[in-house]
Amino acid sequence: MRKVLSFLGPYRFAVYMALFFTFVELGVELFQPFLLARIIDDGIVAGDMSVVVLWGSVMVGMSLIAFAAGILNSFYAAHASQSTGYDMRSALFNKVQSFSFANFSQFPTSSLITRMTNDVTLLQNAMFMALRIMLRAPLLVIGSVIMALIVNVKLALILVVAVPLLITFLIFMMSKAGRIFRSVQEKLDGVNGVMQENLAGIRLIKAFIRRKHESKRFSEASGQLRDRTVKALRLVELSMPVILLIMNISIMAVLWFGSFEVQTGGATVGEVVAIVNYTTRMTMALSVFSMIVMFFSRAKASSARIVDVLETEVDLVDTEESNAATRITDGKIVFNSVSFKYPDTDTYVLRNVSFEAKAGERVAILGATGSGKSTLFQLIPRLYDVDEGKITIDGKDIRDMKLNVLRKQIGFVPQEAMLFTGTIRENIAWGKETATMEEIELATKHAQLYETIKDLPNGYETRLGQKGVNLSGGQKQRLSIARALVRNPKILLLDDSTSALDVKTEQKLLKSLKEYSCTTLMITQKMSTTMKADTILLLEDGELLAKGSHDELMRSSTLYQKIYQSQFGDGGTHHA
């Protein structure tokens, strides 16, 4: 909670202003009965009409002042709460952007989304309420207790007992409800999760006609959310009847003891009436407390969820040794006995892998499904850090380089072409924000996409949906290649990124890649591609089985021969 409250810091002034204006309003409100008394005593009773008019206009004037104060309060309260909400969302988003993939595995995407929107909104609303009405209630309660004590200490003792009792009860409710509300938010994550998955997999769901199955899944998640919410709210709503009961019992006690006190002369009738009166006022003020309990326990739950994210330790960061000046100059990559396993798993996905890719070389990586090819790729831009051994680029350990410096010089084309909502141009410029139109066109030409774009009615300004659905699979792949090329990378990583391309287009593309003076690592299944590589790495079960040129491997590796045969048939083994 404290961490969340610290977000209010910059808006302290607005908070004070809001509170100040609430006081002004409250003051006017309390002053009005006093003015009414003036009108009656000095005006009507004394028969002075001018006094009635005078105090009457003072009352109108004060009402207007209260109104102005109320309006201003609205501005400051909204400013403080909305700005704080804004800052919290920004802080969360920035934090999440610094997450490593290991961090990501701690929070499902859907949960991060709810935290950034729903939880922050809840906090924001609680804050707005706090700045506007919540202050009044405690003040009224305290004021009433003090007044009652002044009137008659003995009778007021009943209140002195009742109020702390109530407060203890409310605090207990808040902490208990807070826990349940936390699980309400978690169930909301669940609903969000099913929803997200369904949107992403809608084609498959339709293709397999699993509408009912998915609806059932959603109903389950949604039903759990309903049950939890009911439970939480029912608990919170219990506070109101309990407050009423305790306060009403106090009234009864005041009457009971009062009647004896009056008899023994310990209190006057007027005093009993006054204390009953103060108790009823307090009851009214306390009824707001049930709302406060709800807002606070929800806010507590939400702020804990927000703090969870903010306090997550990012495990992949620049160290003090990382040198900002280090750049990739040539692009020579060396793997030195690299072993790696994914966080929280036991089996090594890569074991003792060593190889060298000389600057400007083209290296093909070949291997069976699940042999660790993509994993090997992810280590180069440091999406994960190696567990053993080291990777050096131009002789420097990549862990000693600044993350963004390292990544900015790598062009990465993933297996699944992930595009963003926006135009084609925007998607390519994603690789390099400052890219000129010429650079973009050049990149698309090299990616063999220029003709396709030219034929589109809106050309580079064609808008793409979230997953780039207007384009075919191959077009998406080429777009994602263009995105990597536009940044003129020193190292180009192609993760089976040409699988949806036909051979002709692919050959043209590979040829045009020669224009770039970069070290290229490519994962591929196609022999036709590997044959043209300078070095071929053959992976099996996370180990480097063989490396060398096509001819060398044809001689030395039986697996390589087998793959070759799988694509060209037996007749191809003895070529010229």
Binding site: L36, G56, M59, V60, S63, G70, N73, S74, Q82, G85, Y86, N94, P108, T109, L112, T114, M116, T117, L188, V191, Q196, I205, F208, H213, S215, F218, S222, G223, R226, L238, N248, L255, W256, T345, T369, S374, P381, R407, Q415, E416, F420, T421, Q466, K467, S472, G473, R483, R487, D496, A500, D502, V503, T505, Q525, M527, S528, M531, F568, G572, H575
Partner: protein, 617 residues
């Protein structure tokens, strides 16, 4: 200091009316004026859900009446007790009073508790129904709908917008009931005390109505704008989260943070104005309240001066006038939350009003069994208004035949499958299955006979077993293993930590793309369809494994009509028909051997893939 004072007033203004096109830097105009006029309709629709629990609502209403009367009875008894026992200093019989009071108080607390207890149930049931209905409806929407929408934005409707509806239903219904009841009660007492002063008090009502109109005209739009901006923000977050791999490897964190900031700021501004304006309502009520108090004091003073009424009446009346405005104040506050809920509900209903894909043509039939005879005649289709993606395509696949589509990327291969499965409907021409035009077949019935391995192999968050079983929900564990073996997935599954019970994350680090494809194939095998559709089913699988599953696939395709898209031509050599598409038109067709003889596009493609000499040379 001065800056800090000015801060809240320096937020950019939101122009509500878009008729005047000029706007300066300090305001932003919403592109389209969001509609809120229809909010009676929206309320009615919410009521429709609520009214399903009519019995419970009646109960709640009864409890509200009970608690309101108990709330009045309590103070009355106290007043009477003070007069009867304390003032007279006669304590005999005070026990009865206290017993009576205790009964009233307990009843009061009980009714307050029970009304909330049941209302929460009604409210959450309603919210649940709306949510599930929204979801069910989404499931029925056509693919193009999803292709055009940002997923996170849709998600926001299910969570954030529904949240607003939920908040209102939980408390507002009771509040409104109570307020109306109190209002009627106090008004009666006031009329009884002094009709003239009551009339004066009621003078504030027109001012109130006017003020409320002025405020709600703004807040209505602003709340909607706020929800829209929240949705957009949600969309952006969702997209960057799912594209995190790209964001990271391209080191574009700053860029997405910048984009986020822009959306976040819009949300802040619309939220600020919505909140500020909505904050005016209770203040307006307060000032009117205070003014009427002053007027009552003033006018009452004059009346009392002239002995029309007594001083006591003024005092009591002033107190009641205060009580009169309190429920009005509450109502006004509720009105506010109501507005934000209506804004949310409208966005939910917007989606529910989207036209369903499932509206099968009136006389659409179910097909119990099909042989798998597929005929395309003169089919044309384009995704956008202009330009053909598929142009005048005709072909025929006899039952059990394998048809392969070959062609450069973007030639329209996947489109053929989109049309066959009716993800999209053809613009012209007809597609027949067993002689039935597919538009006359119920979509679900049509797809029931098909199994798909789609280009991007989507897996659900769940175990491997669950994912394979998705192909046929009633399959036994043995069936699942059998299918996995056929798809050559069994060995890698067994190597995973928990075998078939290994969990797959949404963006699983542990499982490779090729393995995902193997699981997709297993899933399709399990479905046991008449028509099999393989769209680049093996593109990420290494060729050695591919050869192994090829045999399984051949076996699988036997006796089924199969449509295959593949770039590696050796995988489709055995197809009965190979159709070469280019720019949406069929340029060649025939069997592998006959196409080679034609020495056209296919032959060239084939040779470029197979003649390694040419490449090495």
């Amino acid at each position: 200091m001065l800056n800090k004072i000015k801060e809240p007033f320096q937020h950019r203004r939101i122009k509500i009316d878009s008729t005047t096109s000029k706007s300066n830097d300090n305001e932003y105009t919403t592109r389209k004026k969001p509609r809120v006029e229809n909010w009676w309709g929206t309320l009615k629709r919410i009521w429709k859900y609520l009214s399903e629990s009519k019995g419970l609502i009646t109960l709640v209403l009864f409890l509200v009446i009970l608690s309101s009367s108990m709330a009045l009875l309590g103070p009355f008894l106290v007043g009477w007790g003070i007069d009867a026992f304390i003032e007279t200093q006669n304590t005999s019989g005070i026990g009865y009073l206290l017993a009576g009071l205790a009964a009233v108080y307990v009843l009061h607390s009980l009714s307050v508790w029970q009304q909330a207890f049941w209302m929460i149930r009604i409210a959450q049931k309603t919210v649940y129904q709306m949510r599930t209905q929204l979801f069910r409806h989404l499931q029925k929407l056509p693919i193009p709908f999803f292709d055009k929408r940002q997923h996170g934005e849709l998600m926001s409707r299910v969570t954030n917008d529904m949240e607003n509806v939920s908040n209102v239903l939980n408390s507002s219904v009771i509040q409104i009931f109570t307020s109306v009841l109190t209002l009627i009660g106090t008004l009666t007492v006031m009329l009884w005390l002094s009709p003239l002063l009551t009339f004066i008090t009621l003078l504030i009502v027109p001012a109130m109505v006017f003020g409320m109109k002025w405020i709600t005209k703004r807040t209505g739009v602003l709340f909607k704008e706020q929800q829209k901006n929240l949705g957009r923000l949600n969309g952006h977050i969702q997209e960057t989260m799912s594209g995190q791999r790209i964001v990271k490897t391209f080191s574009q964190e700053d860029k997405v943070i910048g984009e986020f900031k822009e959306r976040n700021e819009r949300l802040k501004i619309s939220g600020f104005w919505a909140q500020t304006f909505s904050g005016f309502i209770p203040k307006l009520m307060n000032v009117l309240n205070n003014l009427s108090f002053a007027v009552i004091a003033g006018v009452g003073g004059i009346l009392a001066f002239n002995d029309v009424i007594t001083i006591g009446t003024i005092v009591i009346f002033a107190e009641y006038a205060r009580q009169f405005t309190r429920p009005l104040n509450d109502l006004a506050n509720q009105f506010n939350t109501l507005l934000s809920a209506v804004a949310g509900a409208e966005r939910v209903f917007d989606i529910m009003d989207e036209e369903e894909e499932m509206k099968d043509e009136g006389n659409a039939v179910e097909l119990e069994k099909i042989t798998g005879d597929v005929r395309f005649s003169d089919v044309s289709f384009s995704y956008e208004e202009d330009g053909d993606t598929v142009n005048n395509v005709s072909f025929h696949a006899s039952p059990g035949e394998t048809v392969a589509f070959v062609g450069p990327t973007g030639a329209g291969k996947t489109t053929m499958i989109n049309l066959l499965s009716r993800f999209y409907d053809a613009d012209s021409g007809s597609i027949l299955i067993d002689g039935h035009e597919i538009k006359t077949i119920k979509r679900e019935s049509l797809r029931k006979h098909m199994a798909f391995v789609l280009q991007d192999s989507f897996l659900f968050h769940g175990t491997i077993r669950e994912n394979i079983r998705y192909g046929r929900l009633d399959a036994t564990d043995e069936d699942v293993v059998e299918a996995a073996k056929l798809a050559n997935a069994h060995s890698f599954i067994m190597k995973s930590a928990d075998g078939y019970d290994t969990f797959i994350d949404a963006d699983g680090g542990g499982i490779s793309q090729g393995q995902k494809q193997l699981l997709s194939i297993a899933r399709a095998i399990l479905a046991n369809p008449t028509i099999l559709i393989l769209d680049e089913a093996t593109s990420s699988i290494d060729t050695v494994t591919e050869i192994r599953i090829q045999e399984a696939l051949q076996r699988l395709m036997k006796g089924r009509t199969s449509f295959v898209i593949a770039h590696r031509l050796n995988t489709i050599q055995k197809a009965d028909q190979i159709i070469i598409l280019k720019d949406g038109e069929i340029i060649e067709r025939g069997s592998h051997t006959s196409l080679l003889r034609q020495d056209g596009f296919y032959a060239e493609l084939y040779n470029s893939q197979l003649k390694k000499e040419a490449m090495l040379g």
